[in-house]
Assembly symmetry: C2
Homo-oligomer: 122 residues x 2
DNA sequence: CAGCATCCTTTCTGATACTG
DNA sequence: CAGTATCAGAAAGGATGCTG
């Protein structure tokens, strides 16, 4: 039974890193964390401008997910028109160095990877 | 024009870490890298047993992707029945510490994240 | 043994229109 | 301003059967 195997969900039980990547391994989370890590706070539309190619929907969805995980704060000001500010939490800050380390590795090895990919056939 | 914005592909140009996550941020790559990082070499079916809940297709697809990026080696022995061995490359090894650091962070903060998620409403 | 091919389901992302 | 709701397309992942 192939189905039986899947139920063990081996990867998340024995591989905690997957639990993180399930959260921040998506298309936008890391970028948002990096931006919020570089600023004190930011409003929704500021983020939307900063990340030129994100859709409003995905910005909302991603921010909500990061908020749920306790990586960013969402502060609503009861004004008209509404103002909502986002900032990174302490938990988020503690994750940042690891993201940046990964980013450094990426910068340093991007070329190697790309060359490898171009040479690769079949 | 919403479409115009996307073409800039801001995230990959200005955010190299995304280029890495586009590759290893999938469901299985990290796990495979961790396993191959802990062993000298491994055959296809060994990996398939080690990762109990991966499908044969995804194991093939993921290994090919890692190979294309130069993170793992694929060595084919011209025998019958065929034998194919996989091992991690030097490039892959250089990435490993960062994955493990992320993994450590995950272990240490899993509970906090889960609590945050449970408390989160809408 | 180590796959490949095909079909199918699920999940992710985006476009668009609308709103307190 | 900062969203929500809905729909549609793309991509990822899985089940199954077949093969050198």
């Amino acid at each position: 039974m192939e189905e039986e195997k899947r139920k063990k969900n081996w990867n998340n039980v024995n591989c905690p890193v997957r639990t993180v990547l399930d959260r921040i391994g998506d298309k936008w989370s890391i970028l948002i964390l990096l931006i919020l890590g570089d600023t004190e706070k930011m409003r929704f539309n500021q983020l939307n401008k900063e990340i030129e190619d994100i859709s409003q929907k995905m910005l909302t969805v991603t921010l909500r997910s990061l908020e749920a995980d306790g990586l960013v704060n969402r502060i609503i000001f009861p004004e008209v028109p509404p103002r909502v500010e986002y900032n990174i939490t302490e938990l988020g800050k503690s994750l940042l160095p690891h993201i940046k380390a990964l980013s450094e590795w990426a910068k340093n090895n991007l070329e190697t990877i790309q060359e490898s990919r171009e040479k690769y056939v079949s």
